[in-house]
Every structure is written in C-alpha cells, then in structure tokens.
C-alpha cells in the first residue's frame, strides 16, 4: 500500500464528466484514507443519476494517490447503487489492486442457511421456551446426580478409578488452604453477633447471656452457613472453572475415549474432599466464632472470663454442634455438585467458562440458604 505521501496528499475527491452520450466518467483523485473527509457514494450516485440517459459508469484514476478500504467500500456501494439503477459499471479504469480486490469481494458466496431477520418472540413462546429450558436443565441435574451416586457406589466397592494424589491435593486445597479465610470471617461473625446482642441484653442487665447467644448461633447456624458461603465462592467456583476449562480443552473427551469416567476421575474426588473437610471447617469456625464473641464480652464489656466460659459450656449442647455439622455435610454436597455440574456443562469458549463459574456460585448460594431454611423448619418441628 502506498504510504509515503499520505500526509501531504489532499483528501480524496470525485469529479464527473461525460465524454460520450450516456457515459459518466468518474475521476478519482487525492488520497482515499479512512481518517480523511471523503465524498459519499450516495452523493456521487445522485449526481450520476441526475444526468439523463446514464447507461455506463467508467473510472479514471490518474490523480489518485494513496488508497485503503475506504475507497473499496465507496466503490462497492457505488456499484450496488448502479446495479439497482440498471447502470453498467466498467472497472477497467481503476488501479489494478482495486479491481482484484473488488473481484475477490464479489466472488465470495453468501452464507447458506443464514438466520433470517430476528423474529420478535411472543410472550407465550418465550415463557414456553424458558419452561422447556428449565426442564432440560433439571433433567441434566438429575442425570448428573445419578451418575455421581453411581461413582460413589463404585468407590465403596473399591472399583472407582481416580488418582489418590489428586484426592490428597484436593483435600489440602479444600481444608488447610481455606483455614485463613474461614478464621477471619468466623471471628468477625462472632464479634458482630456479640456486639448486636450485648447492646440489647444490657438493657436488662443480662449481658452474660451473650455467651448463650454467640455459642448457639455460631454452632447451629452461622458456623456452617458462613463456611459454606466462603467455600462456594472459593472452592465451588474453582471447581467450575477447572472442569469448564478442561471441557473447553477437550480434556474431558480425552478421558471418556480412554474409558475413564470423568465422574469418577474428576467429580467424585472433589465431592469427597469437600464432604470430608466441610464438617471439620465447620467445627473450627464454631470455635473461632465463639472466641470472637468472648473477645467482645470479656475484653470490651468486662464480663469475668471464667463466668463467660462456664456460661458457654452450660448453653452449648452436643445437638447444637451436631445440627451444624450435619448441615455442613449437606452444604458440601451442594457446593461440589453445583461447581462440578456447571463446569461440566460448559460450552467450548473462554466466556462460557466464566459464565459457568458465575452460575455455579449463584445457584450454590441459593441452594445453601434454601437448605438452611428447610433445616430450620425440620428442627423446630422436631423440637431440637
């Protein structure tokens, strides 16, 4: 492409003349560059059609300097208008390269089976589509759950194929590596509960019951719940991204063709690691949260430390811990399922992986809160 004198050359212009009856000669001159102010094809065409009996449009380019796509789009547009008006176009007077490119562009066949104009779907259609999509999604979830159960059965039979080192690494990632963030959040939750409670209880002179409040709230609800939400955002999203990327890279197909079930090889170890680690993290979070509450009660509101300790022990029963721990196992299954399921359902593109992670976290957190609600109803119904 010519580039040398583009800065000095004036912007492209068009002049028309009629060397013969019915023939319009389009004389191109100046530089035809995208950044310059150029004549519009419609304007030129209107001027061409003003002349009576135009049958042929020809070109001349002796004054033409540098050119780029802007000249090509101008000519394509002009040519299309000419075809519509029934005027013949003679491209011989154009630069050689331009003629070649115009030919190349017009040779290209239109895409077959193009989607037509987007049709505005009616409300009923879109409701129906959504319902069908949800049904399909739900059947995929069921299928996934069934396959996961089979994988676990094979694990108990000792037939499941997975790598022990992977499981070890996953346990480390889901357990030990999560301790710092779980500690931070639990201690803060303990502090917040204590602060909120102490202000109210002080009005009755019953500050000591802050120990009951923090202890029971942490063990029954907040320990399991906060750990689950942390783990969903941290580990569940990681599962979705890992499996999604593997799907996108065809790594999962490679496993399948080797006859290795991705369920056993990838999903089951992740579920197992979370199911083993979540109860431990939950108990840990309970203890750290209670310590956070004690820090507020003893350190800031001057309750005697031994009294606070006794009060906590008296308030806590094994059932409180047990409810939290049982819930944490359910949450572990939900986190692993949501993460792995959305990861495995990914399309093969980079944006799809991000979408999978987002969906995994949103669905996971909703399920965690809903499950917690169900537990609250059941435990109150059973009176525990």
């Amino acid at each position: 492409m010519k580039v040398h004198n583009e800065r000095t050359a004036p912007p492209g212009t068009v002049s028309l003349s009629s060397p013969d009856v019915g023939v319009v000669l389009v004389r191109l001159s100046g530089a035809w560059k995208k950044d310059l102010e150029l004549p519009s094809a419609d304007g030129v065409m209107d001027r061409v059609l003003e002349r009576p009996d135009t049958r042929l449009v020809a070109f001349e380019h002796t004054g033409l300097d540098a050119w780029d796509s802007s000249l090509l789009t101008f000519l394509v547009h002009l040519r299309n208008r000419c075809v519509l008006a029934g005027v013949r176009v003679e491209t011989e007077g154009l630069p050689h390269g331009v003629v070649r490119l115009l030919m190349l562009a017009s040779e290209s066949k239109r895409a077959k089976g193009l989607p037509g104009e987007a049709v505005e779907a009616s409300v009923l259609t879109s409701i129906g589509e959504r319902a069908f999509n949800f049904a399909r999604y739900f059947s995929h979830v069921l299928e996934f759950t069934a396959e996961a159960c089979t994988a676990f059965l094979r694990l108990f039979e000792g037939k499941a194929r997975y790598r022990r080192t992977d499981l070890g690494l996953l346990i480390y990632e889901c357990g030990a590596q999560a301790l710092p963030i779980v500690s931070l959040i639990s201690v803060l939750v303990g502090l917040i509960l204590a602060f909120v409670g102490v202000v109210q209880l002080k009005m009755f002179g019953a500050q000591i019951y802050i120990a009951n409040l923090v202890g029971i709230a942490m063990t029954r609800e907040m320990g399991a719940m906060m750990t689950a939400i942390i783990m969903m955002g941290r580990t569940g999203a990681a599962f979705a991204t890992q499996l999604g990327t593997m799907e996108a890279n065809e790594e999962i197909d490679a496993l399948k063709t080797l006859g290795i079930s991705p369920m056993e090889f990838l999903v089951m170890p992740r579920m197992l690691a979370l199911i083993l680690m979540m109860p431990l993290l939950c108990v840990y979070a309970d203890v750290v949260g209670i310590l956070g509450g004690a820090f507020v009660g003893v350190g800031m509101f001057d309750l005697p430390a031994n009294l606070y300790y006794e009060q906590t022990l008296a308030a806590l029963k094994l059932k409180h811990f047990a409810i939290g721990v049982v819930k944490s196992v359910f949450f572990a299954v939900l986190i692993a399922t949501s993460g792995c399921f959305h990861g495995m359902q990914t399309d093969r593109s980079a944006s799809a992986v991000g979408y999978a992670a987002t969906r995994a976290v949103v669905v996971g957190i909703v399920l965690i809160v809903v499950t917690d609600g169900i537990f609250a109803v059941i435990t109150s119904f059973l009176g525990i």
Binding site: D35, S69, T73, H96, L104, E107, S108, A111
Partner: protein
C-alpha cells in the same frame, strides 16, 4: 503470481532486525540474529519445532522484549521508542495468531469492528461497510452475525485474517497459518495471502514449517536452527532447496529425504 506493471516492487527495507538475541524462560534460543524484510515482500521465517520462531514473532510484535538487539520498523527502533510511538507502529501491523484468537463472546462482525471502533473516527455505518468488505474479501460475506464457535476451523482462520486486516495494515504477520487446516483450505489461504499481498502491496511475514506453503508463497525466507542458535540460511526457498550448502536446510526443505534433491 506476477506483480502489476503500474507499481513496480520497491526494494526498500521495511523491517530490520539487528543483532537480536532472544530467550525463552531464561534460556537463549537464538543469538545475534540480523535480517531485513523488504517492503511488499512475502517473507518466510522457517525452522524446526522449538527454534524460537514464535518467540521471535512476539519480540517483533511487541509482546516480549528482546534480551539484546533491535527491531526497526522503517527507521524507528521499536524497543527504543516510547509507548505512543510503539502503539503507532503496532496500528500499522496486523497479526493472524496461530489459534486465531477471535474473541469468543463477539460475533465475527464485532471482532472485525473492534479495531476500527478503537482506532478510527468512523461512524457505525462506515464501520459496518468496511467490516462487510473485509469479511467478503476472505470469503465470509453474510457471516457477520455468526459467533466464532459456530463456524469451522478454516472459516475461523479466515475471519481472524479479516480482523487482522481491519485497519489496512502495512505489515501482516501470520503465525503458522496452515496449522489445523486441511490441505485444500491451507491452499486456499495461501492463494488469499498471495492475492492480498499482490493487490494491497502489504508486507507479509509468515512463520511456518509447512513446506507446501513455503514454496507456494515464499519470496524470501530465513531458516532458524535451534542447535547453533543462529540463522543458517537466507534466500528464496526454491533456490535454497536447489543449492543451499547446508545439509540441515536441505533436509528441512525435503522432509529429510536428502538424497532425492
């Protein structure tokens, strides 16, 4: 393919690489590399796996700094230039990546339009016209609303070429253009490269080890070697095949059948 009569080929240096030493993850892969790419040339950079071809491309296109040496575009040293001058150079360069690197969340039209939206002051209608033209040039007219995931590998390659050409670059880099293409599609892409280079007078730099492509399109070539870490040969690939004194070069150009030459 013959050059047009009206614009004779100017043999002036477009890109000059001088005393370039490049390293990959701390290991020197090529040292003291010097060569010149002429304006309007179709220049092939060839060599076996791991000889530093892709690293060289990264240095030439500003993705990775060299250990030592310089890359000149016209008379400007790329790595000594300031950021705005570098961006100015890069806007005159189009790159077709080995794995196409089409943005998967955008349609083909949006992929081609993005550089135009970012770097020109054109309005939407003008951009749409240029986008349609570029897609038509690579044989993808009418595929504007398709997503990269919805078309075949060969079409993705051509769409990526349309994007590389969006800003009418003076230089086009191709990284393994025939990778993942069947022989017919690879040949079609070669023809397209020839046609575009011929009509637009673009300088084309192709990194490849596909012999069919090398002989079909290459006007000048260099051969890089990972053992000696140097440039072993330079010249027209056909001529190198006939009379390169270096057995490695001839072995490469004959797929190892030395005796058949």
């Amino acid at each position: 393919m013959e050059r047009s009569q009206e614009e004779p080929l100017r043999t002036e240096a477009h890109i000059t690489v001088r005393d370039l030493t490049l390293a990959y993850e701390g290991y020197t892969v090529l040292k003291d590399l010097t060569f010149t790419i002429d304006r309007g040339d179709i220049f092939i950079i060839m060599g076996g796996n791991g000889c530093g071809k892709s690293t060289l491309l990264k240095i030439m296109t500003g993705l990775k700094p060299p250990v030592k040496g310089q890359v000149f575009y016209d008379d400007i040293s790329f790595w000594d230039a300031g950021p705005s001058e570098r961006n100015g150079i890069l806007r005159r360069v189009g790159i077709l990546y080995q794995r196409n690197a089409l943005w998967s969340s955008m349609t083909l039209a949006e992929n081609v339009a993005l550089p135009l939206e970012e770097y020109t002051g054109l309005d939407r209608r003008q951009i749409a016209e240029i986008v349609s033209l570029k897609l038509a040039l690579v044989g993808l007219a009418g595929f504007e609303t398709y997503y990269p995931s919805g078309i075949s590998g060969g079409m993705q390659k051509r769409a990526a070429l349309a994007r590389a050409m969006a800003l009418d670059p003076e230089i086009l880099f191709f990284d393994e253009p025939s990778a993942g293409l069947d022989p017919v599609n690879a040949r079609l892409l070669d023809d397209l490269i020839l046609e575009l280079s011929d009509s637009l007078k673009t300088t084309v730099v192709v990194i490849t080890h596909d012999l069919a492509s090398i002989f079909a399109i290459g006007k000048t070539s260099i051969f890089l070697d990972s053992e000696t870490k140097t440039l072993l040969a330079a010249g027209n690939p056909g001529r190198l095949l006939e009379d390169s004194p270096d057995p490695k070069v001839r072995a490469f150009l004959t797929r190892g059948h030395l005796d058949e030459t």
